[in-house]
């Protein structure tokens, strides 16, 4: 009974206070739309950055005379006993030769035998750990020389120049994205609650009169909170609808072009919807309930 009364009050108020309700809804809609476009883009961008970062790796060259047992031992060391290791690929002498020959036929045509060693290409767990990984595999001695972690290893190398550049570039991309995401979420909350406070301000006289005819604070507050929930839900649902339309119309046809991002983005769309909806409803309900406090002091 009480609840249906509050619900009726809330919907009546929505109908009769078109401008403030609409403004609050527009605020929710716009900020949720921005967030909804932004979050998958962050995923895509950091995905792309990661894709580039994955190119950072350490080459572990084995001695020319490494036995198969030694190769297996090194593989075990790499995959099980070494920190910072992400992915390990084995490139045998023969594979390496074939590959190089394909790239530089003239040079290799002149070679009789295969001068290339067996190699492990090791990706670090995080691109930023590439230096540490190298130190693991080829620890520095006190005298500043490099030793190796296993007698079968001849040398450990990473291509310094490219690595640093790629690392710093992708680091910027990812940092920017994280920071912007945080900023936008904060800004959304601020903007929505700002609009709600203003739309309550436009109705402060009404609240005053309610108190004067004997309504308790919560009797006044509940309809506003429910109104906030409805406004938030409508704004959120509209934003999600627009996002879906946008996704179907623009993103899906392009998916083949951007195969890099297709997978994570699609997977998270459901979660994204849920997060946006809950966020918009929560922010506007809380905003309505809390902002009301200052107008209740009569």
């Amino acid at each position: 009974m009480r609840f249906t009364f509050f619900l009726r009050e809330a919907t009546r108020s929505l109908r009769r206070n078109a401008v403030p309700s609409f403004a609050a809804m527009a605020s929710v809609l716009v900020t949720m739309l921005v967030l909804g476009v932004f979050i998958p883009m962050v995923q895509a961008t950091t995905g792309a950055a990661n894709e580039v970062r994955a190119k950072v790796l350490v080459d572990v060259f084995l001695k020319a005379d490494a036995t198969d047992a030694a190769v297996e031992r090194v593989r075990k060391t790499l995959t099980q006993d070494t920190k910072y290791v992400g992915n390990v690929t084995y490139v045998s002498k023969a594979e390496a030769y074939a590959r190089e020959k394909k790239q530089n036929p003239e040079a290799y045509a002149l070679l009789g035998s295969n001068p290339l060693p067996d190699t492990f290409r090791v990706t670090p767990d995080k691109a930023g750990n590439v230096g540490k990984l190298r130190d693991e595999l080829a620890p520095l001695t006190a005298s500043g020389e490099r030793t190796v972690a296993d007698p079968a290893i001849d040398e450990v190398k990473n291509r310094r120049d490219e690595t640093t550049k790629i690392l710093s570039a992708t680091k910027i991309v990812k940092l920017s994205m994280a920071f912007l995401a945080l900023l936008l979420v904060l800004a959304s909350i601020l903007l929505i609650s700002n609009t709600i406070r203003l739309s309550l301000f436009a109705r402060r006289r009404e609240v005053e009169v309610m108190k004067l005819v004997g309504a308790t604070d919560w009797f006044i507050r509940w309809p506003f909170v429910i109104e906030g929930i409805i406004v938030g839900a409508i704004g959120g649902v509209m934003a999600i609808g627009l996002l879906l339309v946008g996704k179907v119309a623009f993103i899906d046809p392009l998916k083949s072009d951007f195969s890099l991002i297709a997978a994570p983005e699609t997977l998270n769309f459901g979660v994204l919807i849920a997060v946006l909806l809950v966020a918009s409803v929560a922010v506007s309900a809380a905003g309505s309930g809390l902002s009301l406090r200052r107008f209740l002091r009569v």
Binding site: R16, N17, V209, M210, V213, D217
Partner: protein, 249 residues
Amino acid sequence: MIRLDNVTKIYKGETRAVDGVSLNIEKGEFVFLVGQSGSGKSTMLRLLTAEDAPTSGEIHVAGKDLGRLSSWKVPYLRRNIGSVFQDFKLLPNRTVHDNIAYALSATGATRKEIRAKVPDVLRLTGLSTKLHNYPDQLSGGEKQRVSVARAFVNHPPLLLADEPTGNLDPHTSLGIMQLLYRIYRTGTTVLVATHDSHMVDRMRRRVIELRGGRIIRDEASGLYAQREQTTDEFGDLLDNAYHDLGRSD
């Protein structure tokens, strides 16, 4: 019902709207509050509903010391007081019917009670045809009558009416006054701030006159103006003044 002990209300540190007023109104009395414009009548009524707090002094309403009433109890106090506001204070986004229904719901009435009571008070105040009008679709007098209807719809033990007939023609005023009188007859304490000398003079009830926030007169069955002679004198004075207006044409 109402007890004021040396109550003073000072606005902005200078205007003494109510100035050292001590007063006792028993349960079941009918009291007129009169005085010039700006003499402190509305301020006194606002103090009684805890809308404003006095600068000093003690106020007891319905056995409660307002100075010690915690703020969450104020709504429960107000449910026992029906208020007719000088500026009506209607909810702009509700129809006449819903304005009155809201006041009832706020006090916890069920939908059934609302359906039973609201049409009744609207008929009594002559608003049956304006049921679905919003306040900005009413004439001044109609708004005033909605405010009156809202004040007594839940039969409060105390009724405070601030200028309940200021925007009404004499005939409608009489109807409203009869209504207030009838409510009073059911045992309700009624306090009416008014400028309607005709009404005060004919009803001969207790009259409290304010001037500059102080009580300058408190008579058991008084007139609008100070003494009977003075009333006549004042009336003559007015007559002459208007006559002059007419003649000097």
